[in-house]
Symmetry: C2
Subunit: 280 residues, 2 copies
């Protein structure tokens, strides 16, 4: 391992991948590429990008990867990337870069980024949801990702018992109701195509159920929501906060905020993951 | 403080109070009394019981108290005990017994007891529900009660959106649907009076929603359920496990078990609370 080498972050998504590092002035230097269909070509590109932004060598790498993934083996099985299935991503990056590599799934890593440098700064208990094609969640307790026995999957809590069928096989998961896929399955349209206020009021209602459940089960100081579906901003967050406050009656209502880092939450989180794992 | 004195546990409920200690052979020695209406008389009795079971003096006390309570000040506001409202229980016990006193609410303390010596032994993440007059919850992470920003209130997660009105003012909380109070409000009967299998199937269904949400948000190895409503045993747990397994599709299904300590979970938990706080 290149002692004295750089700490870099990798955000590996289904369509794009980014490699970044700190610029020493509170900002990021990042390179990006389209994610190749095959894992070997992809890792070759990631390694090339890493060497370009860290010519002095790489000591530590944090990786945000689309799930599912196996924390013990560092093997990934990203749902929409068949050419990467069962690829030993951690082992290959570690070997080719001669670096210490830590990996977690995209929602967990984005949560860590939001906790340290985004909308969740200063909290001890924080939950992040990404509401996008699916719904992912990350739970941060005292600055660490909480996995429990395996991992959290807040997108598969039930917010509508006996409701719409979810990709997981259950009915009425948060993901089946409010995600891009859920919206398309329920309405035949993409979220961007829908302007009916009653529809968005319904989305805010079911998100509020998810937020209320999260508040009651974990009592976080903040619940942060990112991802494409949350891009409506106040049109979503104003009714969401109002409805959630109506459902959380025993406990203080947590802050309910949009992502502070937006598209950078994964890359920043990957850097924080590498930095905090080095602290151990 | 009596160094070398005994460690005792106090379980203070709305109708009964118990004071106990270990007997050195894996069992408990306990004294009980009816909870007096007034706090001063109650504490005098608790102190007398403590001195009777610990004639050598008391060094440490763990208290399980009906909530709500204020963790910072040790003041309690038990819902059904108006004569104890705003009483500085921790300060008074500490002064009168010359002992270190730690207190937490009944569901959290019972959770700790179940984790250490009951049905949750060996877990790193565990959640306990008491399904009784109300529904309380306790979350144990790495052997400690998780309070988050204030405390967890899993009984007030929403399992039936727009469902029955809850005592908290919200609709469709787990407590409003499956607790003794909820059952009475919904049916006009006490749970013990209802034999209709369809009714208990519905209770199992909504408990399963709560269990599935807990699994997805915290990913515990075990979810333990105690309290009077769970006394039906297999009649409740068999359909509950089946329905929960149908709703938890992405993650491993946690163990779903009845309380291992039953009526003793609070007293054992109070002892564990005192013992583990002494380890810090």
């Amino acid at each position: 391992m290149s002692e004295g080498g750089a700490t870099i972050g990798i955000d590996l998504g289904g369509t794009r991948m980014r490699v970044g590092r700190r610029d020493g002035r509170g900002g990021l230097i990042a390179e990006r590429a389209l994610s190749p269909a095959g894992a070997e070509e992809g890792v070759a590109q990631l390694v090339a990008l890493a060497r370009r932004i860290a010519p002095e060598g790489v000591a530590r790498v944090g990786v945000s990867a689309a799930g599912p993934l196996d924390f013990a083996t560092g093997v990934i099985v990203p749902l929409n990337m068949p050419g990467w299935h069962h690829y030993p991503l951690v082992a290959e990056l570690s070997r080719q870069l001669d670096a210490a590599v830590v990996m977690d799934n995209d929602a967990n890593v984005a949560a860590l980024g939001e906790w340290r440098e985004g909308a969740g700064r200063g909290t001890r208990t924080m939950v992040y949801y990404t509401v996008s094609t699916g719904v992912g969640s990350g739970v941060i307790l005292e600055g660490r990702i909480h996995h429990g026995a395996h991992d959290t999957e807040g997108g598969h809590q039930v917010v509508w018992p006996n409701g719409p069928v979810c990709g997981c096989g259950n009915r009425g998961c948060l993901e089946a109701v409010v995600s891009g896929t859920g919206i398309r399955n329920r309405t035949g349209k993409r979220g961007e195509e829908i302007d009916d206020p009653a529809f968005w009021d319904e989305i805010a209602f079911y998100l509020a159920v998810g937020v209320a459940n999260t508040a009651n089960l974990l009592c976080p100081e903040a619940i942060i929501l990112g991802g494409g579906i949350t891009a409506r901003g106040d049109q979503l967050f104003v009714p969401l906060r109002e409805k959630a406050a109506g459902m959380i009656r025993i406990l203080p209502v947590p802050r309910i905020e949009p992502s502070g880092l937006g598209q950078d939450s994964g890359l920043v989180g990957a850097l924080v993951l590498a930095e905090t794992s080095a602290e151990c």
